[in-house]
């Protein structure tokens, strides 16, 4: 196999920097509007009511900023983590078809260290804005705001243990990512099958770690925002959302690289398999979504159904349109468009669907985090778009840098020949 190096031109890199710059400008504009304009007034009003009803503070621009940072970081960290997960799954399954594209999911994980640092910083500075349970008074039995339910969860939900878990997750993920990546790059240099066999063992270990940490990190970072509420499906739900966005990101990157003249050996058969992945797991996500929804809807227990009330009729119906958009963009659209064989083999269809899914699952995370924190004060304005652009720019910088670090096609992988002749 001949080496294929990706060259990121100065122009492309500048595009990413412009993306970040535009994001920052929008952010600053949003903050100025938020701090000075009607947002604060509205926030104060709603805050008083909410404070009386549920013990929540006024929605300030700092709170909005921190929640946006957190949401985007969880979303992009998830996609980065899926990179290593995809590679591990392919190794453990002895897959041959995916060898030609495996450098793309590998490079996705280059965002993990950045995501880890950001996660820590955002938590350290904004924990009170994001997580209701971080307030000390909830655990003080003499305080009128004492909350016996949250106090009962303090064995798991406390700052020290939360931080330890966060550091452990990232340490494990980055460790396995770097280990797998090193084996992969060394295989290019020295050849032989020993790297392949070793990678299978590393992948098997990583999958066990991933199975546990993907679930617990979802409880920590997303579920604990709605502290009173609980759902046993939640770990799966967040995983499904990350997984399908990760698959969409991989597919979209393959198509963009292909259209720019790279990955010459990749043909419509590989795209077909990627399309099947995206199609299948958008249905999988819907299955998990519905399993969670239907049990809560059917049982109709107040402490459970509050979650959906907040997203449908509650909060002044503020989230209703996102609730249904979420289902249409992440299920109905990919389901109908990618149903036929031809659609999965055409770049234009796949591009449409993968972009829709990436936007759709960003909205999915928005819907998971905003109602529990911003209440009626949420919106999609300068701050939201600005933060998303900054994160996208940083993510693309890390990702493309990872892509340039090794050949785009593995040179000595034992199944690379099989992948070249892949035929569906």
């Amino acid at each position: 196999m001949t080496e294929e190096r990706l060259i990121i031109s100065r122009k492309t890199n500048n595009k990413f920097f412009i993306m970040i710059a535009v994001g920052i400008v929008l952010l600053i504009a949003g903050i100025i509007f938020g701090a000075a304009g009607g947002g604060a007034e509205h926030g104060a009003e709603a805050g008083h009511e909410a404070a009386a009803a549920g013990g929540h503070e006024a929605v300030s621009w700092t709170k909005r900023l921190f929640i946006n940072l957190w949401m985007n970081n969880v979303y992009f960290t998830g996609i980065a983590l899926i990179g290593t997960f995809f590679v591990a799954v392919q190794y453990v399954a002895y897959a041959g078809w995916s060898v030609l594209i495996k450098r793309i999911p590998e490079a996705l994980s280059y965002y993990l260290p950045i995501g880890g640092v950001l996660m820590l910083l955002i938590y350290l500075f904004g924990s009170h804005d994001i997580f209701h349970w971080t307030h000390e008074y909830l655990y003080d039995i003499n305080d009128p705001r004492y909350d016996p339910i949250i106090a009962g969860k303090s064995g798991y939900l406390n700052t020290a243990f939360f931080l330890i878990r966060m550091v452990v997750y990232f340490a494990l993920w980055i460790f396995f990512f770097m280990w797998l990546r090193r084996e992969s790059v060394n295989e290019d240099l020295y050849g032989g099958t020993s790297y392949y066999h070793k990678s299978i063992r590393i992948s098997a270990m990583f999958l066990v770690v991933f199975g546990i940490t993907s679930s617990t990190s979802a409880w920590d970072w997303v579920l604990s925002i709605d502290t009173h509420w609980f759902s046993t499906m939640f770990g799966w739900y967040v995983f499904a959302s990350w997984w399908v966005s990760g698959l969409a990101a991989i597919t979209l990157t393959v198509i963009i690289l292909k259209q720019n003249g790279y990955l010459r050996m990749v043909n419509s058969n590989h795209l077909h398999d990627l399309g099947k992945f995206v199609f299948a797991f958008s249905i999988f996500w819907t299955y998990i979504w519905f399993s969670q929804f239907m049990l809560i809807w059917y049982a109709n227990i107040p402490e459970e159904s509050i979650y959906y009330l907040e997203r449908l009729g509650g909060n002044g119906g503020h989230y209703k349109w996102i609730f249904f958009t979420n289902l249409i963009i992440n299920f109905v659209f990919p389901f109908l468009v990618l149903m036929t064989r031809d659609a999965k083999r055409q770049m234009i269809m796949l591009k449409l669907v993968t972009i829709a899914i990436l936007v759709g699952h960003w909205l999915d995370f928005y819907l998971m985090m905003m109602p529990g924190t911003m209440r009626e004060g949420a919106g999609i304005g300068f701050i939201e778009i600005g933060t998303a652009l900054v994160f996208l720019g940083v993510f693309l910088l890390a990702f493309t840098k990872g892509l340039t670090k090794a050949s785009l096609v593995p040179l000595n992988h034992p199944f690379v020949e099989e992948s070249v002749h892949h035929h569906v």
């Binding site: 519905f290 929804f293 239907m294 809807w297 059917y298 109709n300 149903m339 036929t340 064989r341 035929h423």
Partner: protein, 174 residues
Amino acid sequence: MNKKFVLGIYDDEDVLLHAIENIRAAGTNIYDVFSPYPVHGIDDVLGIKRSRLPIVAFFCGITGTSFALWMQIWMLGFDWPMIIGGKPHIALPAFIPVTFELTVLFAAFGMVITFFIVSRLKPSLRVNVFDKRSTDDKFVMAIEVKDGETDLSALNKLLRTNGAVEVNEKEVVK
């Protein structure tokens, strides 16, 4: 009426694929090729069109969806309205599992039944095995002989020059 076939026996997959291409290019009509296992790319060289079974599946699935929704809405909403768990008579979320199951059931049964009909599979079907070795280690290419039209020696030569290890003739009772 009996039909006569010329059988070209091959023992290599790649030779077979090239032979099919060359023989079809020479204007000879291949009746069928029998192989012990699925050969990648053989559909393309034989010029077999893609199956239209997925279209059947789609419409059977839609039928299943509509039938399931109609059935539940009519039964629980109009024919015998009951209050179950304090939900409205027509409660869509509760109908979705049944709707899903019936969609899958209709699509699956529709596909299997259509497949049986289209490929004329039935219990009384008599299958002509041209050469038993096609279930073991040989590929068998069958070409129909039309009386007065087919030049047997030329066909024999064509098959042999394209790598056939053996050329046989076989008469099949219809």
